[in-house]
Amino acid sequence: MLHAEANSLLPWLINGSLEHAQSEAVQTHASSCVICRKELGQLRALQTSAEQFLASQTAPAIDMRRINQRIDKLATPSRLQNLWSVTRSNIVARPWRFAFVAQSAVVAIVATMVLLPGARAPEFRTLSKPTAENAQRLIRAVFSPTLTLAELTTLLGEQDLALYSGPSERGVYTLTTSRPLGVTERSAIAAALQVDDRVLFAQPVTAQ
């Protein structure tokens, strides 16, 4: 046996856990190796000290009450564990029945979400979208790009109109009258606007 191998096994030679053949080989090497013999002495001292230390230590008196209580607790499962145990055994015994129940539950949940009025998504509205109330005042118009702001103000003043919103991306303005008017009256105002060459388009807004 090589020195390194024998030396690494010295602690287990001392504690007596080496197999017989291995023990013999290590002892044979140690008898002819000064380093291993010296280390054997140190390790024996360690072993002796360990044994003395163990002999001086006392374990507390054996009290099995706590662990018995814990084992008893394991033996009596809680109500939740019982419920789960029954459910699990049902699932294992009748998987198709469980699948049907699960599917029905999913359908019921989806149906509730779709049919309940409160569950609908809120309607999307833009600021310029006409409501029934203000639709009676609005006219949409497109003006010539050459029209100046002063000219626009004059033009709207002549028809008792004001700017409500705009222009949109396509250059559409929404105009409002000073009071609610019918479609016919607003059509007349729109027609009057369109007489001017600087007005490319004008039409009353109808409620949707």
């Binding site: 690494s8 002495g41 390790l43 360690l46 230390f53 507390p60 054996i62 084992i71």
Partner: protein, 197 residues
């Protein structure tokens, strides 16, 4: 207490442990009590040395034996029962060390030897004091070898590492102790060395 002498013709400790564990598989409380009594002193000592606190050691000991009760049927017999039980104790002990932050993880090997000067040691505890200056990994190998009497194969199974790792850790632990222990127990070491042939 359970009488296992009828069930086994092998009166050796390992055979007795195995016979008791088989009865524990059948939920035999008396056999479990017998097994508990057999392991309690060694396990308590091992856990107390690891955790440095008797109360925590007692709690962890119960945790270990509860695992033995619950998982007795999982024991495959690839090792001795004591190896299996100490493997559980090793893992539970490390977990407890982590929880209580008592675990000075992988203690710096450059520990100041001067700190040992003036350290109060008694004939009983000088080795124990010296071991506290080793890393947890190294201390476990020394502990399981000298206090537990386990072979390197068994220690590898307990700690869950290859045999060569056990030998390497033992090598480094010995080198470390060669520096540390003479400061704590030099007279005793020399006295014992004198007995070597």
């Amino acid at each position: 207490m359970a009488d296992v002498s009828e069930n086994t013709s092998t009166p050796d400790p390992a055979g007795l442990d195995l016979a008791l564990l088989k009865q524990v598989c059948g939920r035999d409380r008396e056999a479990f009590s017998a097994l508990y009594c057999r392991f309690q002193p060694k396990l308590f000592g091992y856990l107390r040395r690891m955790l440095r606190d008797a109360c925590t050691a007692e709690e962890v000991l119960d945790d270990v034996m509860l695992v033995v009760w619950k998982d007795a049927s999982k024991f495959r017999g690839k090792s001795a029962v004591s190896t299996w039980v100490f493997g559980i104790a090793y893992r539970k002990g490390l977990a407890a060390l982590g929880k209580e932050k008592r675990y000075q993880s992988r203690l710096d090997h450059s520990v100041d030897e001067a700190s040992l000067v003036g350290h109060t040691t008694t004939p009983d505890n000088w080795l124990d004091v010296g071991l506290q200056h080793l890393s947890v990994d190294h201390r476990q190998i020394i502990d399981l070898t000298y206090f537990g009497g386990f072979s390197y194969d068994e220690i590898a199974a307990i700690v869950g590492c290859p045999v060569n790792t056990v030998k390497t850790r033992m090598f480094h632990a010995r080198r470390r102790l060669q520096v540390l222990l003479p400061k704590l127990g030099e007279p005793r070491v020399k006295a014992t060395q004198g007995q070597v042939k």
